[in-house]
């Protein structure tokens, strides 16, 4: 498979680009919801429009009424989301939760997929139990209780947790906190008794929750996949989420870079366009290189993941780390090269910086993934 978009993918990219730049534009969505103090941090009307475009079911199998596409295609949508800083529950619902549900029973899919396809439902995924991404450590317990389970513990930084109709929760059904085995995934409905969420607004205006599970009772049919066999599904969810976040990061990087390069061609100082100064030209050209490479490895990792390659784990981590570095560079150079106005709220470049910071942390930053690259490479 060549490492560029085929015709269908190019068409998808065009329609996603047009949709996000019109409907998902910064002024219309991000700023609007931020400045009106929205509790969700995104608009449900837009989420319905996502559904009309077919985006919400992009990873859902055709038998279940979805588009049956892959992570490369989801990444195409996410890159446009990133470019326009469009706030939406796409990554947690249509990428991560959908990947989990794809590995769940027909009964579960029947319960949750229609709401996703129609844009009526929002899903979240609760994995981390602290400020850093540590999916290797899961202490939240799920004990047998009647014909079901009782969940107790705490989850942190559950993105869209408070807006979600269902939350995929990773809990421990056996073993010690650090064991790879003994994990089970549960589909937890928002109104489950014993579920308590405290919302926190983040720097990028998205909303996450600290979640307490205090003896949350669930039926056996809330289990996604196998009891004690959740690690395998969890890894799929993580891979999909990470490559998705990488794709979105490519969009953030590209958007910030384009804005900055445009600015270099407009702003005059010392009687010249600042883009004439070689000190800035070289940095812009270096930035371009990094962003191009980040995009290349994101497509590559997406293809490997969709093709079921055994190299996918490694390359997804390479992509997540590389994008974090490239996008981080793009927003930092972006603010700097804008000078004073780069520091103003009125200018969008700062919004890119904020979103990038949140995306870097989401599902593991560059340090986490570089460590994983070392381990997967055998050192």
């Amino acid at each position: 498979m060549p490492l560029y978009h085929d015709e269908d993918q190019a068409m998808l990219a065009d329609s996603a680009a047009q949709f996000m730049s019109e409907e998902g534009a910064i002024a219309k969505q991000l700023r609007h919801w931020r400045d009106t103090g929205c509790k969700d941090g995104f608009g449900h009307d837009l989420w319905k429009q996502f559904a009309e475009m077919g985006f919400t079911g992009i990873l859902v199998g055709e038998d279940d009424g979805g588009m049956g596409m892959g992570n490369v295609e989801a990444g195409i949508v996410l890159e446009q989301i990133g470019r326009n800083l469009t706030p939406s529950p796409f990554l947690t619902s249509s990428v991560m939760a959908a990947t989990a549900l794809n590995n769940g029973s027909a009964e579960l899919r029947g319960r949750y997929v229609p709401g996703l396809l129609s844009g009526d439902s929002v899903f979240a995924v609760a994995i981390d139990e602290g400020a850093k991404h540590r999916p290797e450590q899961i202490a939240t317990k799920a004990e047998k209780s009647g014909n079901g389970f009782k969940l107790s513990g705490q989850k942190d930084f559950v993105i869209h947790g408070a807006s979600a109709d269902m939350i995929v929760v990773a809990a421990r059904t056996s073993g010690a906190d650090n064991d790879a085995d003994g994990i089970t995934l549960f589909a937890v409905p928002k109104d489950a008794t014993g579920l308590d969420q405290e919302a926190v607004k983040l720097v990028d205006s998205s909303v996450a929750t600290h979640m307490k599970l205090d003896g949350v009772e669930l039926d056996g049919d809330a289990v996604i996949g196998e009891v004690d066999g959740g690690r395998e599904v969890l890894n799929k969810v993580l891979n999909a989420g990470r490559i998705g976040a990488a794709a979105e990061g490519c969009g953030v990087a590209g958007g910030a870079m384009d804005m900055t390069v445009d600015y270099l061609k407009q702003r005059k100082q010392f009687g010249k366009l600042i883009g004439e100064f070689q000190a800035l030209q070289h940095r812009a050209a270096h930035l371009y290189s990094e962003v191009e490479i980040a995009r290349a490895v994101t497509i590559k990792a997406g293809q490997l993941l969709d093709g079921g390659s055994e190299q996918a784990d490694l390359m997804v981590s390479v992509a997540k780390a590389k994008v974090a570095k490239a996008a981080g560079l793009a927003v930092k150079e972006g603010v700097q090269m804008h000078g004073g106005i780069g520091m103003t709220d009125e200018y969008d470049i700062g919004l890119y910086m904020k979103r990038d910071r949140a995306l870097q942390e989401f599902l593991g930053d560059a340090y986490y993934h570089a460590e994983r690259v070392a381990q997967l490479s055998g050192y």
């Binding site: 560029y4 366009l273 030209q281 371009y288 490479i293 290349a296 390479v318 590389k322 050192y379």
Partner: protein, 397 residues
């Protein structure tokens, strides 16, 4: 798709049958590379057998048309061959400036007669070429070059000096930028081809910081360069005074080659190998070095994906024409970083300059050699200039 699967199977079987075990090891030094030419000798029988098999099959230049010594492979087939060769670590059967630089320029600008003669000679490894571009006063600012060719009717009389001419003392022929119109800067250069054994050509090797001397000062003292080498085979490529177009086109290929976009050692991760070395010495990688290696591996593996994308796009005519400049910048900076890390991981052992254990100081000599990567074929700074002007369209001279 089915055709490509068949091709992959056939290729795998052919490589299995024809690539000797000794040729399936990473290239360690110059001697492992076969450059061809009149003065060439094979290091061993395996090198010769592998070379002969590839010439026969057209695999020294797989994507060139069959009539010029290639195998006429499509882009997709050539990619499969590259992947299958990489999978078994197969060495390139033949390396040469003819393959990387002159060949592509001839395919684009050459006459039929030139292609028939010169491309076949290159494909069969008969003639080794060198590149006469740089002069003492003209490096990055190449177009200011002064070597002059006076029109003498059926030939030019060429006088002047080139410098940094890689392997000039080993090469058979030179492709050379010669000024033929002093009044016209860009449209006053002719891209000439001539034999290094011509009277008036002398070379003087220059010793590099690595202690090797692969390049030379090259002097031309009234060298007679024929305007024609026979039917449909002129002595210059492209039109007279229009050599700059050829020179720039060729530089694109040179940059692509130096960038390592095609894969091989230039794009591989190194952390695991450095860890094994450390273990062999009874030690451990320093934690901060290990962290740097991990960050390097992220960049190297990401760059490998970029190399693949770059080639795919180029073959499909999609990439930006100035993209080789970006690739060269990143690839060479990465390679310098790789060797810095390898030196650190190797510790004092890497400092040995002559020992048998280091095969005569390979780690340090290779490390020093990589410093030229971001200079030869256009410096990193010049690459960044080109990217900012031609790709980002930034203003100014």
């Amino acid at each position: 798709m089915a055709d490509l699967d068949t091709f992959r199977e056939e290729t795998r079987a052919w490589l299995e049958a024809n690539c000797p075990a000794e040729m399936r090891q990473p290239v360690r030094d110059e001697e492992d590379v076969y450059w061809g030419g009149r003065k060439a000798t094979f290091k061993n029988d395996a090198q010769k057998a592998w070379f002969d098999a590839c010439v026969e099959k057209g695999y020294t230049v797989p994507a060139w048309p069959k009539e010029y010594g290639g195998a006429g492979l499509s882009a997709a087939e050539a990619k499969i061959l590259r992947q299958e060769m990489a999978a078994i670590n197969a060495r390139p059967p033949l390396s040469s400036f003819g393959i990387w630089m002159l060949g592509p320029a001839l395919l684009q600008f050459g006459t039929e007669g030139q292609k028939q003669r010169f491309l076949n000679e290159i494909a069969r490894g008969e003639i080794r070429w060198c590149q006469g571009y740089s002069e003492p006063g003209s490096g990055s600012d190449l177009v200011s070059m002064q070597t002059f060719g006076e029109d003498k009717g059926d030939h030019w009389q060429v006088s002047g000096q080139k410098i940094w001419t890689s392997y000039a003392d080993q090469a058979d022929w030179i492709f050379c930028l010669v000024r033929t119109d002093k009044a016209n800067k860009y449209q006053g250069i002719t891209f000439m081809l001539f034999d290094m054994e011509s009277e008036g050509v002398t070379t003087k090797p220059i010793l590099l910081i690595s202690g090797n001397s692969p390049f030379c000062e090259t002097f031309f003292d009234e060298v007679s360069v024929p305007k024609s080498y026979g039917d449909d085979c002129p002595g210059q490529v492209g039109e007279v005074n229009r050599g700059w177009d050829v020179a720039k086109y060729l530089l694109g290929h040179e940059r692509e080659m130096i960038s390592g976009a095609g894969g091989g050692g230039l794009t591989s991760a190194i952390g695991a190998a450095m860890q094994r070395h450390a273990h062999k010495d009874g030690g451990q990688l320093d934690p901060i070095l290990r962290a740097d290696l991990a960050m390097f591996d992220v960049d190297a593996l990401a760059y490998a994906a970029m190399g693949e994308k770059f080639l795919d796009e180029m073959k499909a005519g999609k990439g930006h024409p100035a993209q080789p400049n970006m690739m060269k910048y990143v690839g060479t900076e990465l390679n310098k970083r790789r060797h810095e890390l390898m030196m650190s991981a190797g510790g004092s052992r890497s400092l040995e300059w002559e020992s048998e254990e280091t095969s005569g100081g390979k780690p340090s000599r290779n490390w020093l050699r990589t410093k030229a990567n971001s200079i030869e074929g256009g410096t990193s700074e010049v690459m960044l200039n080109v990217v900012s002007k031609r790709i980002l369209d930034l203003p100014g001279a």
